[in-house]
């Protein structure tokens, strides 16, 4: 008896229920479409902006056809940056960009920028030993990595991307960083004892 009442209810109101279901489906799809941005997209954009405020030594840039970005370890930024830059046709210092992927610290070569993923943080000491005093801009996203010697370290605060800069390490690498970039950073570390 109760089943019959329920069936009648559906029959009499099927248009209403149909619209509700379609609306629900539409709502779900819209909620997947809109909303916040993936953090790696914003980080990739930041990186491109950073290079506009940093000067590499002339002798490291002279005669170079491309600007190289090295990547060690895996995370969303490292896995997607080449695709993003290709889609957006990004150039840095008027040079095309080449990407080099390193599986371990033993494979490292000199690049203009080195992206270090959190999974490689334990190798950080070895990585920084390699890049120390070389004009390689190191960028990471891991706890306390700026204090450990990484030049620029991303973190998230109240839902937005922020970054901290180890200015001492930047100077030791012969890179020149604009005051405007230092001003935009959340934290600037100036400490001779790393």
């Amino acid at each position: 008896m109760q089943v019959k009442i329920f069936q009648n209810l559906i029959k009499q109101n099927y248009k209403f229920f149909t619209h509700i279901i379609l609306f629900f489906f539409l709502f779900i799809k819209l909620s997947f479409v809109s909303g916040q941005t993936e953090s790696y997209i914003v980080q990739a954009a930041f990186l491109e902006r950073f290079t506009q405020f940093i000067q590499w030594p002339e002798d490291s840039m002279r005669n170079k056809q491309t600007f190289t970005i090295g990547i060690i370890g895996e995370n969303k930024l490292n896995s997607n940056i080449e695709r993003l830059y290709s889609e957006q046709r990004i150039k840095i210092h008027d040079k095309n960009i080449t990407f080099k992927y390193f599986k371990s610290t033993r494979d490292l070569e000199i690049t203009d920028v080195l992206l270090i993923s959190p999974t490689s943080a334990e190798n950080l000491r070895n990585i920084l030993a390699f890049t120390q005093n070389k004009p390689v801009l190191t960028i990471s996203e891991c706890d306390n990595c700026a204090k450990k010697g990484v030049h620029i370290n991303f973190f998230i605060d109240k839902g937005s991307i922020r970054f901290e800069i180890n200015n001492t390490a930047v100077k030791k690498s012969n890179l020149s960083m604009s005051y405007l970039l230092l001003q935009a950073a959340n934290t600037v570390i100036n400490n001779e004892k790393l």
Binding site: T18, V33, S39, I41, V42, L84, E87, T105, R162, L181
Partner: protein, 720 residues
């Protein structure tokens, strides 16, 4: 609207919305890349996809112990590491299953049967007693890359037995690091010797890690007069009154694990061979009782990421564990053995689905089959037919099978709030137990029975994680867990002719808060409320005039625990680190008739101190301490035969006093920049009496059992 028109409309919606989703995303990326530096700082982001999870992201109360922690504090055994985990405390009653841990005021007396211990994600469960005795998991500390201790009911993920959580010991993390070799030796007090070798290699697509170790010790040496009130009783057992435990608690452990990965395939082998002395029931005669363990488990799995959003992990594991227990009582001619063995396999399939970055769904199935399990007694020296060629087993054409399926979601609608929910359905199929005795008598006519516990268990879990910002995280947790009776408990019920036991249950409510007050000051608080129900206890039946009639096991135990844990970690200077943790808890016994009895083995206060000082880039010193408040011993309801009317025996021993255990360590790393290291550790630096209250296994030690006094260990090694 006709049905076919609705279908067309729906399909069109699907197509258009998918296209618009793709277009929208492209447009969004372009917008981002067109923004200025200042504008980028204002963009709100989703932060999913960051692996591994940070401790603040894990929807449970958790502690991570790293290799660096282990080396800095100089822990010499897995026991020492776990003792320093807030909320955990241990009791060593000298029995064959070794040191047993209690968590948040609950200690069951069965070695770690309410916390799952895994090695490289493989449960190290011993099936006869459904427990995790550390004597059968002698992972050398030198092999440990990381220990993840997740506290709270974890049965949704791990199934029966994860009452108080899970301890996962990782020894193969060098996969992600540089290939490395570590070799070390150690010498110390109580004739302790250790040798360890580790090698790992990474050729890109193929990776392996091998850990092998051997260690031995003469064990705890404590005189009988410190353990017993009346040593004259020793002569009744053929032992002199100047008896000590020296020589009867020796240990020798051999350990091997091999882990490897080749593309998506991985494998894991753990092999253990140990011998260990113990005490059981009466003081052991001569060189004491001897246990010999031989365990191995081998897993092979496949881990594949099909798309950014979908991956699977499937694994098949084979287990074998065997214990030979050789007893020695009363005189040189005594002969008695117990042999316990089980063989099992399990298969798991887990799928991980991220339809969108804010939602992660994990589902899994598990099938476990224990196809060979038996317990054999042969103690002819007891001259009791019950103990001669007494064989308890699951018949050859039967096995103990359990089936489970679970699903868990993690949903992050906003970057600062996460919901986690899960449900596990688990069922154990009925099985038979058969017992054979060499002399069949009336007493043993109940020697076969069926365990029928086919009801589906529903095990839920809920958590809410709120991150006000990266500095303040709140977690509200709720979970249930079960602990199914073991094969041995089921057998005892059948032997007694009593009905099948039900799984024990725990329900936990917890509120956890973590805060980074300043960059170098971290605090954490947890408030918990645990309800333990259906605990297996022994019920005494009295006749009409109050005399003892009979007893049986039933699920009538109930405990309620309320408590708070706190932890403060700080770097007052760059070189100094201090962590102070503590736990206050009160457990009440709600079993009928036990309301006024103080719960045994349940310290109300626990304290932990860890501090380390980096003298220079090579040299570190560290101090670790644990405080455990007093504990009552077991309350025995068995009738006291000296009384004419029923009166329970009551406490089987004395209450133990508070104790403090402090260890110190100094380590020199990378000597001559060639990877050499030397480590000097002192345990129980104050030489305090670390006394545990008496337990059933050794009631002769009515003053309680004593742990090691002051011990030293020096080790040398090289990492290259």
């Amino acid at each position: 609207m006709k049905p076919c028109k609705i279908s067309i409309l729906l399909i069109l919606q699907l197509i258009t919305l998918n296209l618009s989703a793709a277009d929208s995303k492209n447009f969004q990326v372009k917008q981002i890349f067109d923004m200025s530096l200042e504008e980028l700082l204002n963009v709100k982001v989703i932060t999913a996809g960051k692996t591994p999870q940070t401790v603040s992201d894990i929807p449970a109360s958790s502690v991570i112990v790293t290799r660096k922690d282990i080396e800095t504090y100089g822990y010499t055994t897995l026991n020492e590491i776990l003792k320093d985990i807030p909320g955990l405390y241990s009791i060593n009653d000298y029995a064959e299953d070794g040191v047993k841990f209690g968590v948040r005021g609950f200690w069951s007396g069965v070695a770690n049967d309410n916390i799952i211990i895994l090695v490289n994600n493989i449960p190290q469960t011993k099936n006869v007693f459904s427990n995790h005795p550390l004597v059968q998991i002698p992972v050398p500390v030198e092999a440990i890359d990381r220990i993840e201790v997740v506290r709270g009911p974890m049965s949704v993920i791990y199934g029966s037995g994860a009452f108080y959580g899970a301890i996962n010991i990782i020894t193969n993390e060098s996969w992600e690091n540089e290939p490395e070799t570590i070799a070390s030796i150690g010498l110390g007090s109580s004739n302790s010797k250790k040798g360890f070798l580790r090698t790992s290699n990474n050729t890109g697509s193929t990776i392996y890690t091998v850990n092998v170790s051997t260690n031995s010790t003469d064990g705890i040496d404590q005189p009988a007069d410190k353990l017993m009130s009346d040593t004259s009783m020793l002569s009744g057992w053929g032992i002199s009154t100047d008896y000590s435990t020296g020589g009867s608690l020796k240990e020798n452990n051999n350990y091997l694990d091999i882990s490897g990965q080749s593309n998506s395939l991985y494998y894991n082998l753990v092999l253990i061979e140990s011998t260990r002395g113990c005490q059981f029931s009466f003081p052991a005669y001569g060189k004491g009782h001897l246990n010999n363990y031989f365990d191995y488990n081998f897993a092979v799995g496949y881990n594949k990421k099909y798309t950014e959003a979908f991956s699977i992990n499937t694994k098949f594991t084979y287990y074998k564990d065997r214990l030979w227990f050789k007893l020695k009582f009363l005189n040189d001619d005594f002969f008695g053995i117990q042999q316990i063995e089980s063989k099992a396999w399990d298969y798991t399939l887990d799928t991980f689905y991220n339809p969108v970055s804010s939602l992660k769904i994990t589902t899994g199935i598990e099938i476990k089959d224990i196809f060979d399990i038996y317990n054999l007694y042969d103690l002819p020296s007891f001259h009791d037919p019950f103990f001669e060629n007494s064989f308890i087993k699951v018949p050859d054409d039967h096995s103990i099978t359990s089936l489970a399926g679970y699903s868990q979601f993690e949903y992050k609608p906003l970057s600062n709030i996460q919901f986690v929910g899960g449900l596990r359905l688990e069922k154990s199929l009925k099985y038979q137990i058969k017992a054979n005795f060499s002399n069949e008598t009336e007493l043993f006519n109940k020697k076969q029975g069926t365990v029928n516990r086919e009801k589906i268990e529903f095990i839920p879990r809920l958590a809410v994680i709120y991150k006000y910002n990266t500095n303040h995280v709140w977690k509200l947790l709720y979970g249930k867990a079960i602990n199914r009776p073991s094969f041995f408990q089921d057998y005892l019920q059948i032997q007694a002719g009593d009905k099948n036991l039900l799984p024990e249950k725990i329900e936990t409510f917890e509120l956890n808060y973590q805060s980074v007050i300043k960059p170098n000051l971290l605090i954490s608080f947890s408030f918990f409320h645990n309800i333990l129900d259906n605990l297996i206890t022994r019920i005494i039946l009295l006749d009409e005039i109050g005399n003892y009639d009979s007893s049986y096991f039933s699920n009538s135990g109930r405990l309620i625990s309320d408590g708070v844990e706190f932890s403060i970690s700080t770097n007052p200077t760059k070189k100094l680190y201090v962590q102070l943790s503590g736990s206050l808890q009160k457990t009440k016994d709600k079993q009928l008739g036990h309301e006024d009895i103080v719960v045994a083995y349940s310290p109300q206060k626990l304290g932990y101190l860890k501090t380390r000082y980096q003298i220079n880039k090579h040299l570190t010193t560290a101090l670790s301490g644990q405080y455990v408040s007093s504990m009552e011993s077991f309350w025995d309801d068995t009738p006291d035969v000296r009384k004419s009317i029923y009166s329970p025996i009551g406490r089987i021993g004395q209450k133990s006093d508070d104790f403090m255990l402090i260890g110190a360590n100094i380590r020199y790393n990378n000597f001559m920049d060639k990877g050499y290291f030397v480590n000097f550790r002192i345990s129980n630096i104050l030489n305090s009496d670390i006394r545990y209250p008496t337990f059933n296994n050794n009631t002769w030690a009515d003053k309680g059992t004593l742990d090691y006094g002051r011990e030293f260990l020096i080790s040398f090694g090289r990492k290259f």
